[in-house]
Structure formats: structure tokens, C-alpha cells
Amino acid sequence: MCTTCGCGTGETHVDGKALSGPGNVQATHSASVPPPNGEGAGEIPAGMSYRAVGARHGQAHLHADGRRHVHDHDHAHDAAHGHAHASVAAQGSATTPSRLIQIERDILARNDGYAAENRRRFDEQGIFALNLVSSPGSGKTSLLCRTIDALKGQLSIAVIEGDQQTSRDAERIRATGVAALQINTGKGCHLDAHMVGHALHELAPADDSLLLIENVGNLVCPAAFDLGEACKVVILSVTEGEDKPLKYPNMFHAASLMLLNKVDLLPHLSFDSDLAIAYARQVNPALQVIPLSATTGEGCEQWLAWLRAGCSARREQKRVTMASLQRRIAELEARLAAGG
């Protein structure tokens, strides 16, 4: 378990389906662990990747779709891994020669690899993808609903929603009439590029569309995980403190745009917008800022214009890429014809 935020892994769901792979890496240990006698152990569907160890501490629970299973907790049991301890100890004699190996690899290299795949897909399809990050309660979902209502006649829009639990946000988005997919991170505190890759496969966003990825409400962890997006958009609401950019600098440093939301409430608060913006730019001098209200629509036109400009830039970039690929194909065909 992450000692800072309680983040863990192993129970990610994309649209209610369990996700296997790097995010659920601990599941690989489960094959060697005898099934627990606890309840629910026999009801895990075939191919699911839950690691049902630790019946003593495990929490059985029921999913909305009727599945029931047992979750592990994050430290291994002596009993379950006794064989491994013994074998490691046996290898560990002081006389074994050791050697040094240079690695020089980024810890997030695997995530960044998945992010690069997502980004390539976005480039090829001309999709403008944004990673929306904020504290819980900053008004992300309300802002998305207003944005979608304003743009859905002009642009194709798809949404990926990230939350620890429930599909409430995806349902709110679907009510606006656009496609939305919920990722439940379970114990996890952030979306990663692997989860988003799976979501893209399910969601299949259209060419030239706007993809809005609403990350888990958390101003700390999502800062480090590239999802393949064009940029991160951080939402700060005026009901929070002006000094949040200083308290959580990594997120404001990683974002390209800050939306200062709920400005309709400013007359009732002592929040100093200029100070908040100055703090944010202290952390990230290049940060763009748009003050707006998702409730009244004040300032939203500037945000919508920013989105339209981003989408057109993506389409133009795709057109240029396609034209250069077509030229390359023509060159190769000409060379083949000359050779033949």
C-alpha cells in the first residue's frame, strides 16, 4: 500500500470488467497460492485476475454486476510465501560472487511505453486528448457536462472517467448523449496509461474527436503518470485555498492549462484569484489560466475556444502527417516500379 495516499493495485475495472496486466502485477503470484477457504473464493470467474489470498484479512464484496470476490491486502503472508523465503535464503550464502549491472532505466518506463502507444493512436486518428486533474469536488464532472452540451453539435466527443469506485460519473456523462467509459481503479489513486489503452480499445473514439479523460480526484499521484494526452488540464475551484498550487506543486507544474472554476461564488468568499494564479505561475511560469463557472457559464466561451483550437490543430497535424505518408508511399511505389 502507498504509505502516502493508500494507493494499491490489483482491482482495476474498465467498464465493470477486470483488467489484467502490469497494473495488476501482484496477481502473478496467485497461481502458487492455495485458494483460501474464505467465502467467495469459488465464485471468481475464469480468467479473472484477482489474487484471493489472505482469507483472514480479505474483504469479500459484491460488485454492481453481481460478482463477488475476495480482495487481498498488500503485504504477503509468511505462510503463503514460505517456500519462497526458504529458497531465497538457500541461495544467499556469503560466498556467492556478485556483479554490478548498469540499468539506467526510468522507473515509469513501462507506463511511458503504454502512453507512447496511446499518443500514437491519438496522432493517427487526429484525436485531441486531455487529462483533466484536480482535487475531488472541484467540479470536473459538472464542467464536462456543460462543455459537452456546448460542443456536441460541433465535435465528436468521448469521455473516460476515472474513479476508485462506482460508475456514477460515467452515467452523468452518458446522460448528455456522448459515449463514456468508467475505469474503477479499486485501491489505485490514479489512472495509468495501460488502463487508458484498454479503455480506448473499448470506447473506440472516432477520428478527429475530442477525448476528455477525467482522472481520479487527487492532486498528487496523477501528476507523474503520462496517459498519452496532448496536455494535462488542472481544475482549481475558488472554494479551495489560494495556496493549493504551492501545497501540491507537482500537479500545477505538470499541467499546461489551469481552469479556475466556480468563479460565480467569488462574491461570497475571501478567495483572492490573482494570488492563486500568481502562486500557480510561481510553480509553472508557462501555465495558461482561464477563470470560469461551470454553473453559470461565465468564462466558458474562452475554454470552448481553447478546445476548438486544440481540435483544429490536431486535425491539421493529422492532415500533414497523412500527406507526408502518402508522399512516402508514392516514392516507394515509384522506386518499386523503376526497379521492376
Partner: protein, 113 residues
Amino acid sequence: MHEMSLAMGVLQIVEDAARAQSFQRVRLVQLEIGALAAVEPEAMRFCFDAVSRGTLAEGAILEVIEVAGQGLCFNCNMTVPLAALYDPCPACGGHPVQATGGTEMRVKELEVE
């Protein structure tokens, strides 16, 4: 911050290296963590200890080399030391300072048998 995911990333890199370079056990894992990367070395050790149990890295020492933060001061047009992302320039006391170093998180070296 998200040290559990990072610890699993470290373990994956170690396991990839074990397949490529044929070793059976890891004695020491050396990491380079930037001062501005928002990673707590103690939390990282705790999480790595948890994820490495029952693997070839069980019991390995996790050594963390802290890389100092650096930034470009827009006023002085100079690279200056930076302890936190929001700190002023130590030379002129002004803002903004754009972080240019100390955000890395890398596996640098392994000692293996």
C-alpha cells in the same frame, strides 16, 4: 505519492534485467530519485519490501541516491539550485524559476548474483 506503483515499476525493471542477463538474486538496487520528483525514499523502501517478497529481489537493499533540484531563473537567466518547485531564485530572490533537473526517477544499477 504513488510509491506502490513505482516500487512495482522497479521490480519489473529488475525482473526484465534478470531475464536478459541471467541472474538469480539481487543484493542491491540503486535508484536515482530527484528532489523534485515527490517520492519519499522511506515510503519507497516500505513498498519495495512489500512487492519484492517471494521474488528474486526479496531482501535486497534499496539504495536511494538523491539528485538535487535545479531550475532556470527567468530573471538571472541562470541555472540555480532549487529545493522545491515553488522556491524563489536563491540568487535574486525572484520568480519564476522553471525546474530543469531533479525530477528523475531511475533505476541506476543492480548488484546481483
